[in-house]
């Protein structure tokens, strides 16, 4: 009776898992579903390396229960590229030096995707604020923020305004 059968949409595909009541979404993704792009950095919501989208909201999967995801839409870093072809944001991050060791990168990709889905023209301060919950120990952040600014500038120039290709 302590396990829950939960069905949710994971990167567009319905998945059903049987999980103990308090199992975190991160453990379910990594250990049951073998999606290891989301990273375990701290287990207490401090670093953001495990950020995923649940119904388009960025959450720390390391402190969110899988059992709360029933019927909801979960997107992970693996679902933000098109079959491995990087999104505009991901491409900009590769180009601009946003990535060093890369362990925090999936969390940043997800958090920034959430920002760009919400705001078409975020300022530098908006971008820095949106990644407050994400720690990067390598880059000192500047080149991450510049990648986001580049994507915003490109998409505004292209007149698409709204969204980042996902």
């Amino acid at each position: 009776m302590t396990s829950n059968s939960v069905t949710f949409s994971l990167n567009g595909v319905d998945r059903t898992v049987d999980v103990p009541g308090a199992e975190t979404l991160l453990d379910t993704l990594r250990d049951r579903l073998n999606l290891r792009g989301s990273k375990e950095g701290c287990l207490e919501g401090e670093c953001g390396a495990c950020t995923v989208l649940v119904d388009d909201r960025p959450i720390d999967a390391c402190i969110y229960p899988t059992a709360a995801c029933g019927g909801r839409r979960v997107r992970t870093v693996e679902g933000l590229s098109d079959g491995g072809v990087p999104s505009l944001l991901q491409r900009a991050m590769v180009r601009s030096g946003s990535i060093q060791c890369g362990f925090c990168t999936p969390g940043f990709v997800v958090a920034v995707t959430a920002l760009l889905e919400r705001e078409s023209n975020p300022s530098r301060a908006d971008i820095a604020d949106a990644v407050n919950g994400n720690i990067c120990r390598c880059t000192g952040y500047a080149q991450i923020i510049e990648a986001v600014q580049a994507v915003v500038a490109d998409s505004l120039a292209a007149g698409t305004g709204q969204e980042v290709e996902a």
């Binding site: 590229s81 925090c104 390598c138």
Partner: protein, 765 residues
């Protein structure tokens, strides 16, 4: 499009990392893999009376429990062999491994580890203050029997793990005739490397060999540590690298790998050890805490004519690489600015009941330069001279020597750096425009490029792409995924996608000195340039035959060999490589390189293991800070770096090294307190209380690179990655001193320190 040195390229591991596909140490999976949880000492010091594993063995899914009784009777250590894998009769720090529980799942292993009963007769713990005062028990009663790994022992006794002494003549005389004497005392906290990927390793044992998959910075060092501790030959251990989720020095030595190897040997299973963040913090070989006293004699012209320097450093419970670092003060203090007289120095490393300390980017340079530069400000203020002006008057020039007798041939770059800084950020203009509660600091340094050897093999595939095989690894800096790739691609006329770098494997590649001390691009890059040049020659020779032209007239561009000046006479590189392969055998070449030893004065000190800065680089930093008079918080509002890079191979990567290094330096200077209580326990134990700087806390660093190529190599590159952090505490602490008119002798400078200083100043008023 071919890649060029100094041009931009997309790092070759970028897409894997940005799409979540890169395989880190924690992501490694093998068939039949079991999971380990480590039972750790709950107290910093005591006698291990008993370990009861009975209940744990009976827990569900448990494969086995490993205790000290199962480990070989051998010791290991990078410099001094003072450690074993599991504590046996004594525990020496909180978190020290006592037993390993192996189970089918990580959760089961953790649950069973909690059921292991450990009985310890707790002792009063030895902190550094106690060790220095000669109080407390001797942490290693058998210290005399410990074997130095490289054959040469150094002065040490009881709780003193290493003593370095320089006692030149004339110091007392210099102080006796001094017009002024300036003295300062400083302390520095530990700093946690806080890479985002907690340590992990997976080990198996079969056919008499250990195979480890681990995200290590230094595979050959891990191989050595596992071999020492398991009592086997080096070649009985194979280490295969994984993508590294950051290391910054803490993943140079074997810490989790020996645990995994022992557990694999005892249980017969493939075993993965993965630390939680809490365990990682508790056991990480952090940058050591230290105290320093610096005292300088000045003559009536304000010249420094003599100095005394003492430095006490916390070794923690085991030595790691620390005995080397104990002599680094000799290469820092008294360099950069001319000291026209002798320097007496005593540097000691103390065993304490705290986690072993170790390397963190910039090692002790960060606090040594902080001390030297704050002291320079103090001297300038004492003399009533502008701080920048005083530095310029006494700056090293070409050929000046550090205290170990190393002649710094290119030290004149320092003045070049000050000049470039002045163009970028004119000193007087900054002083005139400072806002309320703002201050500016300036600092200069010489730093090094680690000289250890590296090897590269280039193999051409018959399709015209190149494999870059090396045990050098990319710690994230891009040294392999950009730097080496760029060197090889530009030599062979390839695009970045056509050069494939291997992951490190000690069975496959020649010795590599690890990702440390900014060495990879400079050292392994030199080997890569040589190896790819040899391959290029083979390709040119074959292409000359195919194109019926003279070798000298052929160039390799855009994946093709072509006759210079006649663009239609081309042949794809694949065709050249295939022709060469099937006529003369595989097209491949291997080169290795190590920096030649640097001459120094062997009589400069006793106990000095680390005496020179190989391939020195020169640096000047400027920081502007603003102090919040409500909270005492300090904000870095501007930061400028002028750095000698030799030659910039990858501009995007080079800038990232500086920006990231300064961010860590800002953390060290202002945010990252890692205190040790009087009970020898760490005070900050999670990422909530150990504050890593966030995007909102870090300014965009302004970077100016100076290119003075290394005359020793064809490549000309010098180390870039480590140095940026070295001056940050120096620049920031002098800026805070300027903003507040108060000296802050402890790093990090906390809001509390600043607030209490502000309060004191108000009371005086």
């Amino acid at each position: 499009m071919s890649v060029t040195i100094g041009g931009t390229m997309d790092r070759t591991d970028g897409v894997a990392k940005v799409t979540g596909k890169a395989q880190y140490g924690v992501d490694h999976v093998e068939a039949g893999m079991a999971h380990a949880a480590v039972v750790r000492s709950p107290v910093p010091a005591g006698r291990l009376v008993g370990v009861d594993v009975g209940a744990a063995r009976r827990m569900p899914e448990v494969v086995g429990v490993v205790t000290a009784a199962d480990q070989p009777d051998s010791y290991g250590g990078w410099v001094l062999q003072d450690q074993r894998i599991l504590a046996s009769d004594q525990v020496r720090y909180e978190g020290e491994p006592i037993a390993i529980v192996v189970a089918e799942t990580r959760a089961a292993a953790i649950a069973a580890a909690a059921a292991v009963r450990v009985e310890i007769e707790e002792w009063e713990a030895v902190t550094m203050a106690k060790a220095v005062a000669g109080e407390g028990h001797v942490i290693h009663p058998d210290w005399q029997s410990y074997v130095p790994t490289f054959g040469v022992d150094h002065p040490r006794w009881g709780n003193c793990a290493c003593e370095v002494r320089a006692e030149p003549d004339g110091v007392d005389e210099a102080f006796a005739r001094a017009a002024h004497v300036v003295e300062d005392t400083f302390t520095a906290n530990r700093q946690y490397q806080a890479y985002l990927e907690p340590k992990a390793a997976t080990a198996s044992y079969a056919d008499g060999r250990y195979i480890l998959h681990t995200a290590t910075q230094y595979p050959f060092n891990v191989r050595e540590r596992v071999a020492q501790l398991m009592g086997v030959r080096l070649s009985d251990v194979r280490v295969v690298g994984k993508t590294i989720g950051g290391g910054f020095g803490a993943k140079l030595d074997g810490w989790v790998e020996p645990l995994a190897a022992l557990a694999a040997r005892v249980t017969g299973r493939t075993v993965q050890v993965r630390l939680s963040r809490a365990e990682d913090i508790l056991t990480c070989p952090m940058r050591e805490n230290a105290t320093m006293t610096i005292r300088t004699a000045l003559d009536d012209e304000g010249r420094m004519i003599g100095r005394q320097f003492t430095c006490e450093m916390d070794n923690g419970a085991y030595s790691g690489e620390m005995p080397w670092l104990a002599s680094l003060p000799l290469t820092v203090i008294g360099a950069v600015y001319k000291l026209h007289g002798p320097m007496r120095a005593v540097c000691r490393l103390w065993y304490t009941n705290t986690p072993p300390t170790g390397a963190f980017r910039g090692v002790n340079g960060v606090y040594l330069y902080m001390a030297q530069e704050q002291h320079m400000d103090h001297i300038a203020d004492t003399l009533g001279v502008d701080r920048r002006e005083y530095r310029l008057r006494h700056l090293f020039e070409d050929g000046d020597a550090s205290r170990t007798g190393q002649v710094l041939e290119q030290a004149g770059i320092l003045r070049q750096a000050f000049d470039r800084l002045e163009e970028r950020a004119p000193w007087q203009e900054i002083l005139d425009n400072l806002g309320p509660n703002q201050g500016v600091g300036i600092a200069a340094a010489v730093w090094m490029t680690n000289p250890l050897p590296g090897e590269v093999t280039i193999k051409m595939s018959e399709d015209g792409t190149a494999s870059l095989v090396t045990a050098a690894n990319d710690n994230g800096s891009g040294a392999v995924s950009m730097g080496l790739t760029q060197i090889v691609a530009s030599t062979l006329g390839l695009s970045e996608g056509d050069v494939r770098a291997s992951m490190p494997d000690t069975d496959i590649s020649g010795y590599d000195g690890g990702s440390q001390g900014s060495r990879t691009t400079a050292i392994v890059g030199t080997a890569a340039l040589e190896a790819s040049t040899k391959v290029r020659e083979q390709l040119l020779a074959t292409a000359a035959g195919l194109l019926e032209a003279h070798v000298d007239d052929i160039e390799l561009v855009d994946g093709q060999a072509r006759v210079k000046g006649s663009p239609s006479a081309t042949v794809p590189l694949g065709q050249v490589a295939a022709a060469a392969t099937f006529t003369g055998g595989a097209v491949t070449a291997t080169s290795s390189y190590a920096t030649p030893p640097v001459p120094f004065d062997a009589g400069c000190a006793t106990g000095a293991l680390f005496t020179t800065m190989c391939t020195p680089t020169y640096h000047v930093h400027l920081a502007v800070v603003e102090v919040d008079d409500v909270t005492g918080n300090v904000d870095v509002v501007r930061y400028v770096v002028v750095q000698d890079a030799g030659k910039v191979i990858s501009p995007v990567g080079a800038r990232g090294q500086v920006q990231g290094g300064i961010a860590q330096g800002i953390g060290y200077s202002l945010y990252e307190s890692q205190r040790i209580g009087d009970d020898a326990r760490l005070v900050e134990r999670s990422l909530e209380s150990y504050r890593l700087p966030l995007a909102v806390d870090i300014p965009d660093v302004e970077v100016v690179f100076l290119e003075n190529p290394d005359p020793q190599t064809g490549l000309g590159a010098k180390g870039i990655g480590e140095a940026p952090i070295v001056l940050s505490a120096a620049a920031i602490s002098t800026a805070v001193r300027h903003a507040t008119g108060r000296t802050f002798n402890a790093i990090p400078i906390t809001p509390e320190d600043v607030m209490f200083a502000l309060q004191e100043a108000e009371e005086v008023r």
